[in-house]
Every structure is written in C-alpha cells, then in structure tokens.
C-alpha cells in the first residue's frame, strides 16, 4: 500500500509538472485573470489541461499527505536523516507551490488569498523581511508567478528526485488516468469574477483553518505558529525518535483541531 501510494505520488507529480508546463504557455501574469479565463473557455483543450494541472496537483498533495502519514506510522523509519530533511523540504515546497498556484488563478478568491498571505507575512516578525520576495506593487501576481513556474518547480523536482532517486515515468499514464478520474468525479471550484461584491471568498482548502482562526481574532503571529507547528514537529521528528508516539499524537491533535477550525 505504502509503495503504491509512493509511486502514485510521483506519477501525479509528473502529470502536474507537465500539465503546468502546457498551461504556462497561455498564462500571462499582466492579464492573469483574463488569460486564465481564456484558457478555460476559449483555447482548444485549454480547460482540459487546466483541470489536469489542478487535479493532478491536488491529488499529488493528498497522496503525499497519505505517504507521510503511512511513513510516520511505520515501526521503523527507513530513510537517513538527509533524505528525511529533503522530504520535509519537499513537503514545504509543495504547500508553497499549491498556494502560489491558487493565487495565480487571479480570480477574487485567488487574489484575496494572496493578500491575506502577504498580510500574514507582514505582521510576523522576522518573516516580514521576506515580504519583498512575494510582493510586487506594479503587478500583484508577478512574484507569485516567478515562484510558481520557476523557483519552486525546480527546487521541488530536485527535492523529489533526491528523495525517490527515480522519477518513475512509466507510471505517467496511470497518473493521467487518476487525474481524469478526479476530473470526472469532482468539480473544480468556480472562479469568482473580480468585481464580485458581498460574497464570501475562501482560500485553498488547506488554508481554511488559518483563515478561520484569523476571523476568530487570533493574532497573525499565532496563526503563523499554528501553520508552522506540524512542520516544526516533523523537523524534530528524526531527533526524537524515542518520543515518536507522543509526536504522532501531537500531530493527530493538531490535525483534528485544524480540521475543526477549517469547517466552522
């Protein structure tokens, strides 16, 4: 089971990367929303590739999360510390990649998510120094775009390669098959036009808990801590192998609470 999840993850990663390469030919950051809409409705096969990119990425994230859960539940961790660290790095990159992709669709929810993330960054000591890496006053999506199509894919590909040593391209067709299955079963969220007023907008599903905590009045810095908490635990995981059960419970409690705050 763990093995199948692993190679499925890599297959989905490959589909996500290649479909992303295709949609990147159409995406124009200066007319971000319009170019996404043209891709969706007007470019032949555009919506197919957009959905392929979306669902393969979402499925990849779900598969990776399953992969992590299965790995930490094992009796013994089989990889060395370096590989563990690369894996964690890859997981962090993946969330960044998913989030920047959400912003890049540039509809009201995408841009709002971008605004919220920049505000969070701005109000967090130390991290606020990284704001210029994401904020561009002349073109909102520009730096998100650079991260999404250039830096993050390269870094993630490297991290994944170091982790798995083999990109398992023979599973590519299965990756597409699973993605198409998701396309048939699930519906991609509708884009919300930019001039929409008085409508509730949400960020990506994995960001909902943080959004709701902010709405409940939690300080941005504490929300940052909540978001970073599982990553911090996974970073120290390798050094505190003897306390794995405790850490696993902590992760479980965090996941349950985060899920709760995501749905309220």
């Amino acid at each position: 089971m763990a093995y199948v999840i692993s190679w499925l993850s890599v297959a989905l990663f490959n589909v996500s990367m290649l479909s992303g390469l295709i949609v990147a030919f159409v995406y124009k950051p200066d007319i971000a929303y319009a170019s996404v809409q043209k891709l969706t409705y007007l470019i032949p096969y555009g919506n197919f590739f957009r959905e392929l990119h979306y669902f393969s990425s979402e499925a990849f994230l779900v598969a990776i999360l399953l992969h992590v859960i299965l790995e930490i539940l094992k009796i013994k961790i089989n990889i060395d510390q370096s590989s563990w660290n690369y894996s964690l790095f890859a997981l962090l990159l993946l969330f960044f990649l998913m989030f920047t992709g959400y912003v890049l669709k540039a509809d009201l929810s995408g841009l709002s998510a971008g605004e919220v993330s920049l505000s969070l960054l701005k109000q967090t000591p130390l991290l606020d120094n990284f704001l210029p890496l994401f904020q561009d006053n002349s073109m909102f999506v520009w730096k998100f775009y650079l991260w999404h199509i250039l830096f993050l894919p390269i870094l993630l590909t490297y991290a994944v390669y170091v982790h798995v040593k083999d990109l398992k391209t023979k599973y590519f067709i299965v990756g597409i098959g699973i993605t198409v299955f998701c396309m048939v079963v699930f519906a991609m969220p509708k884009d919300i036009p930019l001039d929409t007023v008085a409508l509730h907008v949400e960020g990506p599903w994995f960001f909902l808990g943080a959004e709701n905590l902010l709405m409940l009045g939690m300080s941005p810095m504490l929300v940052d801590v909540v978001i970073a908490f599982p990553f911090l635990l996974l970073i120290v995981y390798y050094y505190f192998k003897n306390y794995r059960v405790v850490i696993n419970y902590l992760l479980l409690i965090w996941a349950a609470l985060y899920a709760y705050f995501s749905f309220i």
Binding site: I173, P193, T196
Partner: protein, 579 residues
C-alpha cells in the same frame, strides 16, 4: 508480482478512461469569438443599448458583470446584474465612464426625495396642526412618506409595482429607457432624448405640472364621453382628466420636457437641494432673452450635440443664467436665433421677449412670467388623509406590508386662473393648494383630527397668452381672497366669500380657497421661507389700480407707451382723469 498486475490493470483502465473522457468532452464545436465577450454566442439577437454603447465594442459583461469568457450559462451568469443602471450597481458599472454623473445623481432631489420629506416635516410637525404630540406627528410624516410618497423614486424597484404601467424607478433606466417595458428577450434601449412620458410617470401628482403641460387636468369624476362602452380620458386605471389648453410650448411646437430642462437641472448639479426650484436650472428668460457664448468643441455642449445627432454644430449657444448650463439646442448663427427640438431636430425661430410696455413697466418688475402667462393652474383643495393605526399597507421604502394604513380622499379639484402671491423667488407668481391636508387619525380607539393648510407657488406649465389687467387687479380669486364678491366703496375693499368651511364640516375659520383676508391676514401657510400672500398694502395697491384699468384696459392704450411720463402728467393734474 501483484504490483505488476495492479500496474497493468491501472494502465489499461487509465488509457480507457482518458480516451473516453477525451471523446466525450472534445467533440464540441469551438466557439466563434465575435464580440468582446462570449455572451453574444447565446444572446446573438440582443441589440445595443444605444449608439454610444455598441455591443460590438462594449460587449455585455462590461455593464452586466458575470464571466465574459464563459460559454456555459451557469459560469457566465456568476455575479451577473440584470439592471446595472440601478444606483447600487451604477458605481460598479456606469461610473467606470460616467462617474461624475453617478455622483450627481446620488445627490439629486429625485433620488434623495428631500423636497417631499422636508415639506412634510415642516407642514405637519413644525407648524401648528392640532397635533400636540410632535413625536407622533413625525411618526405620521415618516409613515405617510413611506406609504404614499416614496413610490416615486429614481431608484425604486420597478418590479414591486402591481400595475406595471405605473412602475417607476430602475436607476438610470427610470429616465433613459425609451421603451415602455422590456420586451421579452430583448435588450432595452436607452437614449439621452428622454421622452416626456418618462417624466410624467412621476410628475403627475401634487402640483401636476407633468399633466398640465400637456393640457390634461385631473378631474375628480370619471372619464367621459364613453368610448365603446368604456371610460375615456384615463390618466391611469383610477384617475381621469379633462382636456384643457396645453402649454403653448407643447401646443405650438410640440416641445418635450427636455427641450427646456437641462441635464444639470434634471440630473443634479452635485449639491443636495432642499426644494425642486433650487434644483431646476432654467428660467423663461434663458430662452426668450438669451445670453450666447461662443461654441467650443470638447465641452459638455459638444458632447450633448454629438449624442443628440439631430442638432447642428453652431457658432454660438445659449447658457442658462442660473447654473451656466449649455442650452445647446438654442443657437445663434450670425443674427439668426434658432431653437431645435431635441427629439427630432426640428427648428424654430426663437420668439424673443418683446420690449412692449407690459414687459418693461417698473410696476410689474416683480412679476414672474407665469403670473401673467399661466392660463390655468391645477388646484386640489382639501386633501383628506385618513390614517388607521391598526391597518396594514405596503411600505414603498421597506418594500413590504407594514403596520399603519393611509387612505387619501379628495373631491374638490378645480382648474382656474391662478391665485397670486409672493413666491419662493420673492416674485409674484401663481399659487394653489399645496397641500391642504385635513387629517383624521384612528389610533387606540380614539379619533384625532389635524389640518395642515398650505398654499404653494409654482410655475404651472400652462403658458399661453397673458391674462388681462382686470383678471389680476379686480378678480378676488387672483388676489388670493378666494371665490366671492369683491366690493370697493370709498376706497374700502370688502369681500364676501362663497365657500363656508364651517358649513362644510371643516374646522377652519376661513374659506378653503382663501389665502389671505382683505385685511392682509394670511390664512394658510407656505412651505417656503420667502413665500407669502399679498399683505394689506399690496392688496390695496393692486386693487386701487382698477380706477385706471376701467378705462385703460389694454396695453395698446397710449398711457402705457411711457408710463413714467404718464404718471408725472397724472400727478401734475395734466391728464383728463386728474384735472
């Protein structure tokens, strides 16, 4: 081994799924991109709003929102707005290009309705009405406004009117839509050439200038003669009219409201005015003794001429004296002064105000044009407003049925030569009831009475040939005394009214049609600071002129050729009268 088998199965299933999916989803014909957005791929029969907003350029989404790229209804109609001209949407759509107008409209008196609210408050709360509880009086004002007056409102929701023929509102569409109602499946048409019926749909009550201009006087009775067994002369399903002489501007030239009223006067000048006369821009003399300025391109006048398309580009155009608005349809080319009808561009030679004695007499310089030239004025005496606290009625503001019900009853409507008084502009002008409210309040098993009797001065929009000297100087009704007999014995004026309010059951000490007594005591209030009836001195002065008028009845008489000289000769005893 098991993994290998699973992999093979997954490859087969994946391949099949991909092929089926592609087959099912990729057979649709590609959309032809023919306009700025994809809306026309379904709404191909929709025509442009007007020539300034061609759908080929603007598309649909720039005004209606939604997703202009989408080709499926569910996606395309996300966040779509059916009527973007409603003022709550106009900021988002119309203001993209017309922000200055949208700002002005929101301050416009037809949007704020401040004129109605303030006058009601002043008449029912500030002034003595018999209602001692001022808080309750204000509640009555709010209730009456919500349940009666608030129906007419630029931004009213049209769909809430049961009788769609009486529907008002819709934001910009309230005035600019030129079709009766939206035809099913067709886009409405807009125009800057506002048809008068768009104005009259609201301006047909209270001072009734909208109906008066077209020679329609609302009668208290029913519409006859019968036509095919049915009532004729209908204003709407319950109101009827008599045919009277229309305003000469309509009668002779077929002018519409917009031929005189400027865009600044109608859509507002950015200020929140308290009364309609403050908002209105034009005066008679703006056209009849016009001031011309050089026509310049890239001005509002040029834009308006360009929009109209029927009116030529002039050398000079007139401007309104009050707000300096371009009267672009009044033009001067060399020495020719031409007035153009905006509807179709038909031209007329402008009749300038003559310099005959009647326009130049010092003694008449306080007269507003309408005091002589109004042929008749619609007068609605004694409006009986009945309030039932335990009743229920539709609230035009809350747009639902709420507690409290008003019933309006009236039966004393007259068309007549206008009474005169001192108007809001401190000039002598026509006056008529506005409003004379006799109120009955049914509250907590008790009945309370109140009355707010007021006369108002306005331009009746029934312009025609001037009244005669006798008509103003000796007619008691014109003087504001009411109907009855005027006697002048040894310079003492006496007046015997016909109407007896007490006998008619009204709790007032004066005839309902009397604005003032011969002693100069004003019986009824006005809703303007400067407006009043004639005082005793003025009444005596006006009436005493009868001694001259009996002989010198018309302006053709030689004494009017140079009236100042005639007065001197009279005082020096050198005329036949003074010898």
């Amino acid at each position: 081994m098991r993994i290998s088998l699973l992999f093979k199965i997954l490859v087969v299933l994946s391949t099949a799924l991909i092929l089926v999916y592609l087959y099912m989803n990729m057979q649709k014909p590609m959309i032809q991109v023919s306009s700025p957005d994809q809306c026309m791929s379904c709404h191909s029969d929709y025509e442009s709003l007007d020539s300034s907003h061609p759908v080929e350029v603007f598309g649909c989404a720039s005004c209606h929102g939604g997703n202009k790229f989408a080709t499926k209804k569910a996606d395309a109609h996300v966040n779509i707005v059916k009527n973007p001209s409603r003022l709550e949407h106009s900021e988002r759509f119309c203001a993209e290009c017309h922000s200055e107008i949208v700002t002005r409209i929101k301050m416009n008196i037809m949007e704020t309705q401040r004129g109605i609210k303030d006058v009601l408050h002043e008449q029912w709360v500030e002034k003595s009405t018999g209602l001692d509880d001022k808080k309750f009086a204000q509640e009555l004002v709010d209730s009456h406004f919500s349940k009666a007056c608030a129906a007419c409102h630029v931004n009213q929701k049209e769909e809430i009117f049961h009788d769609q023929s009486l529907a008002k509102g819709g934001g910009c569409a309230d005035c600019h839509r030129i079709e009766d109602k939206k035809k099913e499946g067709k886009h409405p048409k807009f125009s800057t050439k506002i048809p008068s019926k768009n104005c009259v749909k609201c301006h047909n009550r209270s001072n009734r200038i909208g109906t008066s201009y077209f020679g329609k006087f609302e009668s208290e009775g029913y519409g006859t003669p019968y036509i095919d067994g049915n009532f004729s002369h209908k204003l709407d399903s319950t109101r009827f009219y008599y045919d009277l002489p229309a305003d000469v501007h309509h009668e002779k030239a077929g002018l519409d409201c917009i031929d005189c009223h400027t865009e600044k006067g109608v859509m507002g000048d950015g200020l929140e005015h308290k009364h309609m006369e403050d908002a209105v821009d034009i005066k008679c003399k703006d056209c009849h003794t016009p001031t011309f300025k050089e026509y310049l391109p890239d001005t509002l006048a040029a834009t308006l001429i360009d929009l109209n398309k029927n009116i030529p580009t002039p050398k000079e155009i007139a401007y309104s004296g009050k707000k300096n608005a371009p009267l672009y349809n009044l033009q001067k080319n060399d020495e020719n002064i031409t007035f153009y009808r905006k509807r179709d561009g038909k031209s007329f030679d402008m009749t300038k105000m003559s310099d005959k004695p009647y326009h130049n007499l010092d003694i008449h310089n306080r007269l507003d044009c309408s005091s002589c030239h109004a042929q008749w004025i619609a007068s609605c005496y004694g409006c009986h407003e009945v309030y039932f606290e335990d009743g229920k009625q539709y609230d035009w503001q809350k747009q639902k049925i709420t507690n409290g019900k008003w019933l309006e009853l009236r039966s004393f409507l007259r068309f007549e030569s206008p009474s005169l008084g001192i108007g809001y502009n401190e000039k002598i002008m026509p006056f008529a009831p506005g409003c004379q409210v006799i109120g009955t309040v049914f509250k907590d098993d008790k009945v309370e009475q109140f009355h707010a009797m007021a006369m108002s001065g306005w331009e009746p929009h029934t312009t025609g040939k001037s009244r005669t000297c006798v008509d103003c100087h000796i007619d008691p009704a014109s003087l504001g005394l009411g109907r009855g007999t005027l006697d002048i014995k040894k310079d003492k004026i006496t007046f015997t009214p016909i109407y007896d309010s007490r006998k008619s059951g009204l709790d007032i000490d004066y005839p309902i049609d009397s604005f003032v007594s011969v002693e100069g005591k004003q019986f009824q209030t006005t809703s303007r600071e400067n407006a009043r009836s004639f005082n005793k001195k003025e009444l005596n002065k006006i009436v005493n002129a009868y001694k001259c008028i009996l002989c010198h009845r018309t302006y053709e008489d030689k004494i009017y050729k140079d009236f100042n000289v005639s007065k001197i000769l009279f005082k020096e005893g050198k005329t036949q009268c003074s010898k």
